[in-house]
Amino acid sequence: MGRTIVGMTAAALIPPLLEARALCFLRQDEAVFGPVDFALHAGEIALVEGDNGSGKTTLMRVLTGMLRPGDGEVLLDGQPFSLDTVAGAVVFLGHQLGLKLDLSPRENLRFAAGLYGLRAGADADAALREVGLAGYEEEPARRLSAGQKKRVALARLLLLPARVWLLDEPYANLDREGIALVNRLLEQHAARHGAALVTSHGAVTFAGGAPRLIRLHA
């Protein structure tokens, strides 16, 4: 009996990194998704599954705090979450990559690092090497292919200290090798006690077994 109570308090002491409680989003009084419940702990990767139009991207944007949820709440590290309290803990990679096409990959990464700070031991050129863009550091992003631009955005994930990654369709535009790269980055991130939420159409495979599934219904 006593042991159960000890166990319960220990579990309650470590809140999930990202938690959604009865989260739903309304557009003109019509539910886009939800209610969704999930808890994402450090070291966990979850895949959001759903058909086109089921609200995967909307869920991501609600989780970043940019969209206000219709009902329910989002907790980050056990704290209610809003854009004012986010403090760089979350990084979002959406369909728009947030790259300036007139700047080189290195300049783009330096800017992001200036805003968010650097992950311990990370630097821009090493991150670009890691995603297979060595030699393209100085090239204007305008001249890169869609897949290469995506890789620059992936290098940004490596560089920033954010613990929660929200990746909306990270596999889009990537070749087979790029898909393997995303999976490798996600595994590394999990190993560093980060958490990630990924939306995807394709199947995702990890060395550490199948990821958790969060289903959305249209």
Binding site: G88, G94, Q96, G98, K100, D102, L115, Y116
Partner: protein, 228 residues
Amino acid sequence: MTPGTTTAACAALLRRDLLLAWRRRGDIAMPVLYAVIVTTLFPFALGPEPALLARIAGGVVFVTVVLAILLSLDNLFRGDIEDGSMELLMLAPQPLALLVGTKILAHWITSSVPLIVVAPVLASMLKLPVPAVPVLVVVLLLSTPLLCLLGAVLVALTAGSRRSGMLLALMLLPLCVPVVIFAAGAVAAAQEGLPWIAPVAWLGAGLVLTLVLAPLASAAALRIAMDT
């Protein structure tokens, strides 16, 4: 400078915006070119009578500068919203108002400073008396950031809509009027040898007020614009 601190973030954003403006130098030249063309056309339309030109010089130069700034305002947040950089700014650990303020500063440097540099030349072309030229520069130094700040709030408010140019001009008009009155009033007073400190002080007070409030209002408006 440690990356991720507030100073470093503002410096990085300022550096990026100035670098982007430099990579597209043609766009910076546009407002200046516009101001030069408009002020050059006035003597042709009104006749080269020095007394008449001197009387309208201050007002013409100022209105031209206002319109040139208005032309450039539309792009203040558009690029960042379209390519997803705005999301990056919103999720950054720094207060959005501070980052928006930095963006407005960068915009002022790239759009207004070149105009302030050419304004004395344009004014002398229109025979503005030499003693009034420094007053014109002071007035521009105070009123151009004021207009950029006011404009930024409106640009942020209309950021959600696709064709916002017309709406922006319509909304900015009533806010421009007091600025134009005080600015042109100061130059006219200086031209006639009257004290011009009072209107300049009003402009300064307006600048201080918008400097504090406009970034906060712009940030709030941008959040609403992105919440769709």
